[in-house]
Amino acid sequence: MKARKHILTVLIYILLSVWGIMVLFPFYWMLLTSVKSYGAYNSEYIPEFFTLAPTLENYIEAFTAVDLARYFLNTLIFTVVTTAIMLVVIVPAAFAFSRLDFRGKNAVFTLFLALMMIPNELVIITNFQTITDMGLRNTFTGLILPSVTSVFYIYLLKENFEQIPDELYKAAKVDGTSDMKYLLKVMIPICKPTIITIVILKVIECWNSFVWPRLITDDKAYFLVSNGIEEIRENGFGRENIPAMMAAVVVISLPLIVLFIVFRKKIMEGVSRGGTKG
C-alpha cells in the first residue's frame, strides 16, 4: 500500500516535470538560439543543446537590421497612452455606477453588461472603416481610440468600489468632501490593488495586441512589436537569419516576463478573477 502510494507520487512529479519542460523549453531554445552565431547555427544539422561560444552579435543585428527599437518604442507609447486613457474612462464610470444615484442607472448598467458578450471580431470591421474614413490609419490616435474602453474592467472596479462601506462616504460628506475629492482621495487609494491588477492585465493585452494594429498600420513607422515580429518573419533579416530573429523574440518577450516575475501573484489573481485570453 505504502509502496504504491510512493510510486504514484513519483509518477505525479514526473508528469508535472514533463509539462514543465514543455513549457520552459521554447523559452530556453529561443534564448539559446539567440546567442549562437549565424555561422554556428547554420552549420548544426543536429541542433546543439548548449553553446560554448555565446555571442551578442544577433542582438546588435536585431536592433540594426530592422527597426526593433522603433517597434519597441511604439508599443511602449501605445501601451502607456491606452492604459492611461482607459483609467480616465473606466474609473469615473465605475464610480457613477457604484456611488451615484441617477435615473436609468440599472438600464444603462444592463446595457453595459450586454456589451461584454459582444466579440471583438464583430465590431472590428466597422471600426476599421471608421478609422480609415477619419484618415487615422497609421496614426497613434487610430491605434489607441478603439482600445481604450473595457466594459469588463468597469464591472470589476464597480464591484470593488461597492465594497467600501457607505459610512466612509457619509463621513466624507459631513466633512464637506466633494464627490471628486472622495473618489481621488479615498476610493482610488483603497481600491489600489484592483486598479493595479487592471493596469497590469491591460498592459499585457496592449503589449501583445496584433490584429488591430495589423489592420490599421502598414507603415513600419507605426508597427508594434507583434507586427514587427510578423514583418521579420515574412521578410527576415535579408537572409534566413534565425539567431537574429530569436534575439528579436527575446527582446520582445522580456518586458512581459519581467512584469510577470515581479507581479506574479497579482497577475495570477487578476486572471483567475475573470481575465481570458483572446
Binding site: 464583430l122 468597469i154 518573419r233
Partner: protein, 296 residues
C-alpha cells in the same frame, strides 16, 4: 441623498461615448454591411440589399477551408486542453513541494507574445535546407522519418497548430482548475476517507461534481476562444494563410477586410456574423447541457 443625475452622466460620459462609437454603432453597422450587396469601400456605394454576401461567403472555397480548419481545431483542442488541464491540476493539487514553482512555470505562456513564441515553435518544427529541426531530429531518434510540419502535409500542419494552441490556452485553464480544486472543502474528503471511499470514487463523486461549474465555464470559454483562433496560425504559418491552407474564420474575415484579397467589408461582415451565429449556437447548446449536468 439627492438624485444627482446630471453629475452622474458627466462621470459616465467618456465611457458612453467610447462604447457608443466603437461598440454599439459597429454592432448595428456590421449587420447593415452584411446585407449591402456590392459595397465599394472607396466610393461607399452599394447597389442592392439582400443575402448575396452570405451566399458568396458560403460558396467561397477559402471560407469553407477556413471553416473546416476552425472546426478541426476546436474539436481537437477544446477537449484535449481541458482534459490535460484537469490532469495537471489534479497532479498539482496532490503535491505540496514545488507546487508554487510548477504553478508559476505553467502560467508563463499566458504572458508571452503569441506571435513571438510562435516563431520559436516554427523553428522547432520547421525543416530547412540546413537542418530538419529539433522535432524531426527527435523523430529520427525513434526511427521515424522527417516531416515538414510548417510547409508539409496538412495533418502535420494541423498537428503543430493544435499543439501550439493547447500550449497557449493551458495556463488559463490550469489556473482556473487549480483554484477550483483548492476551494473544495477539505471536510468532504475527510468524511469520505472515514467512510473508506476509494480514490476514484472520491474523484468522480466529490471532486468532479464540485468543480463541474468551472469545467463547464472552461469548456464554454474554450469553445468561444478556439472558434476565434487566428494569431496562433499567423505565428506559425505567416500572414498568407490561404496559401498555406491553414486559414481560420477570423483570418478569413480579416483577409476580406484588408490584405492582399481585402477591400470587401460586406463579405467580411457576413463571415463575421456567420462566425457569431456558430459561436452563439454552440454556447447555447453548452449552456443547456451544463444546466442538466452541473449540480449547482
Amino acid at each position: 441623498m439627492k438624485k444627482n443625475g446630471f453629475k452622474a452622466w458627466l462621470y459616465l460620459l467618456p465611457a458612453v461615448i467610447f462604447l457608443g462609437v466603437f461598440m454599439l454603432y459597429p454592432l448595428i453597422d456590421v449587420f447593415v454591411y452584411s446585407f449591402e450587396e456590392g459595397y465599394n469601400s472607396a466610393s461607399q456605394t452599394y447597389y442592392g440589399v439582400g443575402g448575396y454576401n452570405y451566399d458568396y461567403v458560403l460558396h467561397d472555397p477559402y471560407f469553407m477551408q477556413a471553416l473546416r480548419n476552425t472546426f478541426i481545431l476546436v474539436i481537437i483542442t477544446v477537449p484535449l486542453s481541458t482534459g490535460l488541464a484537469l490532469l495537471i491540476s489534479l497532479a498539482l493539487n496532490s503535491i505540496k513541494k514545488l507546487r508554487m514553482a510548477f504553478q508559476t512555470i505553467y502560467f508563463l505562456p499566458y504572458v508571452t507574445n503569441t506571435l513571438a513564441v510562435g516563431l520559436v515553435f516554427m523553428i522547432l518544427f520547421k525543416k530547412t535546407a540546413y537542418s530538419d529541426g529539433l522535432v524531426n531530429v527527435l523523430i529520427n531518434l525513434f526511427g521515424g522519418g522527417s516531416v515538414d510540419f510548417i510547409d508539409g502535409p496538412y495533418w502535420a500542419k494541423m498537428f503543430v497548430l493544435c499543439f501550439y494552441t493547447i500550449w497557449i490556452v493551458l495556463p488559463f485553464k490550469i489556473l482556473i482548475l487549480t483554484s477550483a480544486l483548492a476551494s473544495v472543502n477539505e471536510t468532504y474528503y475527510k468524511a469520505a476517507r472515514i467512510d473508506g471511499t476509494s480514490r476514484w470514487r472520491m474523484f468522480t463523486k466529490i471532486t468532479l461534481p464540485m468543480i463541474s461549474p468551472m469545467i463547464f465555464y472552461l469548456v464554454i470559454t474554450g469553445f468561444i476562444g478556439a472558434f476565434k483562433a487566428y494569431s496562433d496560425s499567423v505565428a506559425l504559418f505567416g500572414t498568407d494563410l490561404n496559401a498555406a491552407g491553414m486559414n481560420t474564420i477570423v483570418g478569413y474575415v480579416y483577409d476580406m477586410l484588408y490584405g492582399d484579397s481585402g477591400g470587401y467589408p460586406s463579405y467580411a461582415s457576413a463571415a463575421a456574423i456567420i462566425l457569431f451565429v456558430i459561436v452563439l449556437t454552440i454556447t447555447v447548446i453548452n449552456l443547456m447541457i451544463s444546466k442538466k449536468k452541473v449540480h449547482y
